[in-house]
């Protein structure tokens, strides 16, 4: 694997134009192409750098469910708030409130009972961390308080949580636990493929998830569903090259898994990370995904061996289920059925400052990415048409 040397090399507009022309040459006249980028990072790149504008009009990029924040259902946010607001037994006697820790974007995700920021305004102690290892440090610094890490993310992030649990166990830190919301990407792709209201020609595979799981788990997409998948990097030229590789497959009648991001993604993933994941986690029978509903074997929980670090076993968690607000169409956006600007509340009632849906919270969410980088363009285009 070779490190990216100069970022500019991957953002060269002349090269992008040239790749766009080559993609156009491979298009069959009269045929429309729909490719789903699974990862929210790719969605961000598409809007930030205008990748779609280098593509022919008949090649459409559809945004998938790979934004970790966007797929968290409102009920799990409320569960986190309930955890943070309850008085629990302190490790050294007495009672005190939990210190809940979470990644930055989670602070603003609205649940049925407000967001984590709202809970802090009511007196909860919810702190933003960059890594679960930071949460473990907070636990070391606060031996008289229970510290819970609100874990979210796909296979890119789950190894950091697993490693943190291993360190907590090795160090004998008893006041640390994990409220686990880690999800896995393959069941989500299966759910998308089984969705009756979406026709896709190919997938742009997630780059950093694949660093951990490798490229082999996607084989079923090519073999059973006869659709190409290309694991892609996150620079604009990475994405355009991936789309070109997909177009080559389609024009030659092939459906294979290919790796455009070979400088980072090993074909077999990271075996050490996979071993740690299988040791620390087990699959939940079911997990509720925002927009996709309940998906079997699609999320992780602490395995029996590490049950002592499972916040859901250590504390009382209500297990809230909250329906999405009626106006919110995140579900359709996450499945690629609706484009962000087609949502009824996009850019009006729902903005990054006052999000109604999760897709408007994280910068990887399709709605936030489009709002930040393209919304004025849409208005201008409407005016000129």
């Amino acid at each position: 694997m070779t490190a990216l040397r100069f970022a500019d090399e991957y953002r060269n507009p002349d090269l992008a134009q040239a790749v766009g022309t080559k993609i156009a040459e491979l298009c069959e006249p009269g045929r429309d192409y729909k490719f789903m980028e699974v990862c929210g990072g790719h969605t961000h790149t598409i809007y930030r750098y205008g990748v779609q504008d280098h593509l022919p009009d008949n090649v459409e990029l559809v945004h998938g469910p790979g934004c970790p924040v966007c797929v968290i259902p409102m009920g799990r946010v409320d569960d986190g708030i309930a955890l943070a607001e309850q008085e629990v037994e302190s490790p050294n006697g007495g009672t005190s409130k939990v210190i809940l820790t979470c990644f930055g974007d989670m602070m603003r995700v609205p649940g049925g009972n407000g967001s984590f920021l709202d809970a802090n305004a009511r007196g909860a102690d919810i702190r933003m961390v960059y890594s679960p290892l930071d949460a473990l440090r907070i636990a070391r610094q606060n031996p008289d308080r229970q510290v819970v890490f609100y874990a979210i993310g796909f296979e890119t992030t789950a190894p950091s949580t697993a490693l943190t649990v291993l360190r907590a166990k090795a160090e004998g830190i008893r006041n640390f636990s994990v409220f686990c919301n880690h999800v896995t990407i393959i069941p989500a792709i299966k759910a998308i493929l089984d969705s009756p209201d979406l026709r896709l020609d190919a997938f742009i595979g997630p780059g950093h998830v694949s660093t951990v799981i490798g490229c082999r788990p996607y084989d079923f997409i090519a073999r059973q569903h006869r659709k190409p998948l290309v694991c892609s990097g996150f620079e604009p030229l990475d994405m355009l090259q991936s789309i070109y590789m997909i177009m080559q497959q389609l024009s030659e009648g092939r459906s294979e898994v290919e790796n455009q991001y070979g400088r980072v993604v090993p074909w077999d993933g990271n075996p050490t990370a996979l071993k740690v994941l299988s040791d620390v986690f087990s699959l939940r029978p079911y997990f509720e995904w925002r927009g996709l509903g309940s998906i079997a074997s699609s999320a992780l929980q602490l395995s029996e061996r590490y049950a002592d670090f499972d916040a859901e076993r250590r504390f009382s968690v209500p297990g809230v289920r909250v329906a999405d607000p009626k106006a919110c169409q995140c579900g359709e956006v996450l499945k690629g059925v609706l484009r962000p600007w087609e949502c009824k509340v996009f850019g009006t009632a729902c903005t990054p400052e006052t999000p109604i849906g999760t897709c408007m919270v994280s910068s990887e969410g399709a709605c936030a990415a489009y709002y930040n980088y393209g919304r004025y363009a849409k208005q201008r285009i409407h005016l000129e048409v």
Partner: protein, 83 residues
Amino acid sequence: MTTPVWLHLERPTAACEVREGCITCGDVAVELVVVHIDGVDAHCRDDEGRAEIVATELVGQVEVGDHLLVHAGVALERLEVAS
């Protein structure tokens, strides 16, 4: 393929301070260089000089000068540097 109208427009102003978002939430991994090793942790820097302590258990033994792909404070992969 026509040139989109909005390419001629200025970029929209930032909608909020978190425009770039939380990189951990975004599944973003970054390339860092090891500058010092402290047991299983590596003290690293990015190309703008920002420092970070990185757990290295998932990539095996690292050395000063190694390039690592890092997400959420944990090295996920060791990268080779292009010549």
